[in-house]
Symmetry: C2
Subunit: 289 residues, 2 copies
């Protein structure tokens, strides 16, 4: 059984086919252009593969309210040509197979949940700290969703006492994305994150913010695993700093046996999105979504 | 069909019986004493009523992890005699009917969801701002729960620039409960909240904190309704202040048609817990829990 998978990113599309266990059998990628051009490339990839269902992890914001007329449509985005694009409907019209769509980070969470760092857990939060900050929650094989998908990167947290940066989020300034994403680091110090590797204060402040975000997610959602990925986490020293700071903040309020088993690295390298989208496709086929 | 209901508070127990639609038929209340004395009073109330199931909304923290050996046991609490008390098991042994237990705030949320301010909504968050701060989420008739129940009052938010109060949470200092609960207000100003009614700065700061907490809950959970209750909300002017401040913080990032329909008052006065616990009992009877 062949399942199609699309990881639709703001700069890059990845298309893949896999089997119902999430094994990737073929894969391609290309830059994201205007919608119709991009869809033509998607179509030509899947023409060679007789897929029975399709799973899609997309950039957002996207309308995922199933009761809405614009379910599956991209909402307001700086990528003007994609704004109001009925992405899900276009894919359904093109491929005539069951299609399931979720956000990129929720889809990545599904991949790590089934085959990665959370494969032994019943619930898992996947956080990406990259160009933006986002997080997705999967519990008992189901992606958590309210009326629409979560926007976990836009929570507020305490400012660090030494931080006079106003924050880089165009909507909120100092939300967690505005304080701790890759571009926030770059704006605060005037240098890209990887050039600041030897500056300990940078990472102490970053850990201070990430630990607070994780604290907020943890007390609200009580996940068994918290997987921390994205480009900024290439600063590997951050893992221990975040774990320590999180335990300081939690201060024994809730029991955590071993923080090293709670806050962990992703295991699927850059494939969590592609594999997660295959699993979304499997759910679409089983009519679970 | 008679369903039993217990609202087990730290200072007061309310016992009631109702029908499967949540109608309260008889009710009593008494102070919370040590567990065995309190349970004896519970037993004597229900002796007069042939209940077929029992729902319980309890103070916490309580172990609600169904895979745990101590499921239904009260965890560490300042009420030392209740610590490690196997509350759910004792009730099951006493009444020999299906018993379902959840936290007080989750149970209150269920009540408002079925019969109160959220009766037309598919998802609802109920927040109480009283001696503590807590919140519960119900979606499609199900209480949201991770591994254990949420502790939404212990999130961190930005400090108000004019606030030099360190916060009153014994574990975290300046978490939202430590900054905005009734006792936090009392500690910051040295006076009970109701005596500060005419001091506008007090409520401007309170609204600043509550709006941030709601912002964090809203972007993470995307509920259709947000119901704000508890003793501090007796300062009715807070509703509009919180609504306005929330819209400022959200800053158009997500669409909210009318904040007055999103952030609302409870409708069940002080009965949301009792009615919610009846609905829990109904779920226990239907084996939905
Ligand atoms: N080694 C590094 N150290 C610190 N920051 C990094 C490093 N590598 C990438 N980043 C930052 O991560 C961000 C890109 O994140 P990434 O997860 O790769 O992409 P995206 O979020 O766009 O999918 C950029 O802001 C970049 O500066
Ligand atoms: N009119 C009021 N104005 C401000 N605060 C109030 C008012 N009434 C009660 N409170 C505060 O609310 C808290 C009690 O909250 P309540 O919800 O009644 O109880 P609990 O949280 O213990 O169930 C106390 O800290 C009290 O000072
Ligand atoms: Zn933001
Ligand atoms: Zn706290």
């Amino acid at each position: 059984m062949l399942i199609g998978s699309i990881e639709a990113g703001g700069t890059k599309f990845v298309c893949a086919v896999g089997d119902e266990k999430g094994l990737v059998l073929d894969k391609t990628s290309f830059s994201t252009e205007e919608p119709d051009k991009t869809l033509a490339k998607v179509e030509s990839f899947f023409k060679e593969h007789p897929i029975e269902a399709l799973g899609v992890g997309t950039f957002g914001p996207v309308d995922l309210d199933k009761t809405s007329n614009s379910y599956g449509t991209i909402l307001k985005t700086p990528k003007i040509k994609w704004q109001n694009y009925p992405f899900l409907q276009k894919l359904k019209n093109t491929f005539h197979v069951p299609v399931a769509m979720d956000t990129d980070v929720n889809t990545a969470c599904l991949g790590e949940y089934y085959y990665g760092a959370a494969k032994e857990a019943n619930s898992s939060l996947y956080i990406t700290v990259g160009t933006g900050i986002g997080a997705g929650l999967v519990q008992n094989g189901q992606v958590f969703q309210g009326k629409n998908h979560s926007e976990m990167g836009h929570i507020f947290v305490q400012k660090h006492p030494d931080d006079d940066f106003k924050g880089s989020c165009p909507s909120h300034g100092a939300c967690i994305e505005g304080l701790a994403s890759g571009p926030a680091i770059e704006k605060r110090y005037g240098k890209k994150g990887y050039l600041l590797a030897e500056n300990p204060g940078v990472w102490e402040m970053e850990a201070f913010y990430l630990a607070q975000a994780i604290m907020n997610y943890f007390v609200m959602l009580s996940p068994e695993k918290i997987i921390l990925g994205g480009g900024v986490m290439k600063q590997e020293k951050l893992y221990q700093m975040v774990q320590d700071e999180f335990m300081n903040l939690l201060n024994g309020y809730l029991a955590v046996d071993n923080v090293k088993n709670l806050i962990v690295k992703p295991e699927l390298k850059d494939e969590q999105g592609v594999i997660g989208a295959i699993m979304l496709g499997v759910k679409a086929l089983k009519r679970e979504i």
